[in-house]
């Protein structure tokens, strides 16, 4: 699974992207966030307030209950500020 981080999520984690293989019980975006939060202090800080984060699965916005698969591209970021 390819993960991408943007804006302050990226700066807190210290990575723009990475490949991960979460355990099989991580089946949704929300479960992935909980799992990632346990990977280290930067992750814990980035995912401390999940309600401040947004996610995309395969380049479409996704809610925490959206399901994820091993081959997905999943991105985490703050609410967008386009335009």
């Amino acid at each position: 699974m390819k993960l991408l981080y943007f804006a302050w999520v990226k700066t807190r984690i210290g990575l723009a992207e990475e490949e991960v293989t979460p355990p099989a019980e991580v089946a949704t975006v929300g479960q992935l966030m909980t799992w990632l939060a346990g990977r280290g202090p930067g992750y814990a800080e980035a995912f401390a307030e999940p309600e401040r984060l947004r996610a995309a699965v395969n380049q479409d916005f996704a809610k925490p209950d959206a399901t994820i698969d091993a081959g997905d591209e999943v991105a985490f970021f703050p609410p967008v500020t386009g335009g």
Partner: protein, 157 residues
């Protein structure tokens, strides 16, 4: 047509290309977003030195295409254009332009306003402002979410 680019764009040239030879077009509504020198979204009179736009390559283009298609499906447009920049910009720089051409001006205005409202909440860009050597991420505005909801069917809001 949509484009995501780091370099500046020429508004006059973009509009000329959009309408070239299209003699059914009676009106062209255009919006150009510029970097303001005031911090954040509240318009406080403090100086922003620069603003850097980060985006999600791939998803940005996908979302801009979807937003443009939505406008084309809602209004009778002859042509449309979204150009959005990323990278480091200074006050006065152009960030984005949207243009909608139609035989009828109200359709052009509404569609152009719609494009901007949806860009604010559906295009994966993030802005970081520099002031006195400090970098600060610009937060999304509740008013932009409200503006996005203007365009929802009433049973969906």
């Amino acid at each position: 047509m949509i484009r995501v680019q780091e370099e500046d764009f020429d508004v006059g040239a973009e509009l000329a290309a959009l309408t070239e030879g299209r003699h059914e077009i009676g009106g062209l509504a255009v919006f150009i977003g510029l970097v303001r020198a005031t911090v954040g979204n509240d318009g406080a009179p403090a100086d922003v030195e620069a603003m850097t736009l980060e985006h999600y390559p791939g998803m940005t283009e996908k979302k801009l295409r979807e937003i443009e298609q939505e406008a084309l499906s809602r209004w009778p447009l002859s042509a449309s254009l979204i150009v959005h920049r990323y990278g480091r910009l200074v006050p006065g720089d152009r960030i984005v332009m949207t243009a909608c051409a139609s035989a009828h001006r109200h359709a052009a205005f509404e569609a152009c306003s719609f494009l901007m409202d949806w860009l604010k909440t559906k295009a994966p860009f993030w802005k970081v402002e520099e002031q006195d050597g400090e970098a600060r991420w610009v937060e999304a505005r509740a008013s932009d979410s409200a503006a996005e909801r203007r365009w929802l069917p009433s049973d969906d809001s």
